[in-house]
Amino acid sequence: MPVLKVNNLTKTFGGISAVTDVSLDIEAGEIIGIIGPNGAGKTTFFNLLTGLYSPNSGDIIYNLDSKITTHDLKPHKITHYGISRTFQNIRLFQNMSVMDNVLIGFHSELKYGVFCALFRLPSYFKSENEIYKKTDRLLDRLNLLDKKYELAKNLPYGDQRKLEIARALAANPKILLLDEPAAGMNPRETRELMNLIKWIKDEFRLTVILIEHDMSLVMNICERIFVFDYGNLIASGTPEEVQQNKKVVKAYLGEEVE
């Protein structure tokens, strides 16, 4: 059973169709790449998958611990279901420390009530201690531990991208959505990121869906690729298949003049 099934998804903004009749299946444990020219509707697709937008028509069905359908998708609920994401234009909590950013990732795991917090009842100490330990461990695994007290906004760009992934991982997702994780990175950082994504996928047993313009990254690590153009899903398949596809070549390079 596919972990994510999308049926005939359509989203329009004031008459302009950003995502048109998209259907696809994603199996558990895959690394999926979504590519396409700028404005092809890739980020809109992510926003639909995370409940930031609601579709005009079509369905989104997740088969996670339970079955999640389109109308269950609210932004603040997706981490509870096991879905987590990063943003194209990094959205860290700028004036908070690296550690606090990751701590917020654990939000849906924490259960003690406001009353426990106000009066510091035992469950407060128990949960907080546990979360601080987990945060340290996660930061350690992503090589950010030495920057734990730095403000997020003071990190170098590559580390900010990494921190955003760390924060998303803190929510203990089963599906991780990465929106242009390599944007703005130099080739060395991109190579590191590639290894990181592969490692994360195995280590945390995730399904990864990523939007990316860096073809070396996509072709290297993605098992399957979906190609968007003008809101339509124009092709899908393995990296080799997609590279051979005429429509894809046309979308990227334009039509050959005969």
Binding site: N95, M96, M99, A117
Partner: protein
């Protein structure tokens, strides 16, 4: 994290000693009634500033109606103690609760608004509360509410001020407080990380209102007399000024700010004609030379260094 760090134990001992000494001095009349009045006003202002800081500083919701919550608490306590002869402790709790309910009622619809729009909506709410109070005869209307029993003393003020600080400090250093800070930084990212922004904004608003209501009860039962115009727009601004002057996101800043500004305004009482002119110049000077407040840049937040960024 231990139950109580050494520093926290020191703070508790320091506070108890401070209370013992001040109370002794009040009993021996070393602290006269004028000084005591200022101490109580400082306490009330600390409660107001720390509670507004929770809303505006920590959660990032710009409110210009804090005095309205104070007035709801003040009138509730006045009615309960003067008209129904209820004990002070009960009327304090109910004053806070009444203000918190008002906070939820106004917060649920308006907290969808952002920035200046929220500010102007809360300002409007404050004015509506004031104008309604002016026209309700049961609570004295424009003439004001008289003969409120004077229950507030230094002990009540001290305990409630300390409790407010501790509870709000505990709140912001829990995952609930982190959620509020995340909303301030980036509401969409906070939501995506599992924070129910609406819930936390309303929660912060209700908690802030609760403590403002308590401050109102202390105020009403200290000054015997309240009138709607004591809780107008300018009072809300006064509270906001303390928060900004002390430093947003800093509880210590709000405490220091409340102390300094209360003392300044108490000195200015002596020159009534020039009082507001000098006050406005001081405000202006602070904003020009220290726009981040006394304790800005996230430094010196009480508590552990590793928590400083919240």
């Amino acid at each position: 994290m231990k139950r109580l760090s050494r520093k926290q134990i020191m703070i508790i001992i320091g506070l108890l000693a401070f209370y013992a000494v001040t109370n002794f001095m009040i009993n021996k009349n070393i602290i006269d009634s004028y000084l005591q009045l200022n101490m109580i006003v400082i306490g009330i202002n600390i409660i107001l500033a720390v509670s507004l800081n929770l809303i505006t500083g920590f959660t990032g919701q710009f409110s210009l109606g804090h005095a309205a919550f104070m007035s709801i608490g003040a009138y509730t306590s006045a009615i309960l103690t003067a008209n129904f002869g209820q004990p002070f402790i009960l009327s304090i709790v109910l004053s806070g609760a009444a203000a918190a309910i008002a906070g939820i009622l106004i917060g649920v619809p308006t907290l969808r608004l952002k920035g200046d729009y929220l500010a102007i909506a809360t300002l409007g709410f404050g004015e509506i509360v004031r104008i309604l109070a002016l026209n309700i005869d049961y609570i004295g209307g424009a003439i004001g509410f008289n003969d409120i029993p004077q229950y507030t003393n230094w002990t009540w003020t001290f305990i409630l001020t300390a409790a407010t600080i501790v509870l709000i400090y505990n709140f912001i250093n829990s995952y609930h407080g982190r959620a509020c800070a995340a909303i301030r930084e980036d509401e969409i990212a906070a939501e995506i990380m599992g924070v129910n922004a609406t819930y936390y904004k309303v929660l912060a608003f209700a908690m802030g209102a609760f403590f403002a209501g308590i401050a109102g009860a202390l105020y009403a039962n200290y000054f015997y007399f309240i009138k709607p115009d004591s809780f107008g727009f300018m009072k809300s601004i006064d509270i906001l000024v303390i928060v900004v002057f002390g430093g947003m996101k800093s509880i210590a800043g709000s405490i220091v700010g409340a102390i300094v500004l209360t003392i300044i305004s108490s000195f200015l009482q002596g020159i009534p004609e020039l009082r507001m002119i000098i006050y406005s110049l001081i405000l202006f000077g602070i904003m020009i030379y220290r726009p981040t407040g006394l304790i800005g840049d996230d430094k010196f937040i009480i508590g552990k260094k590793k928590r400083r960024s919240i």
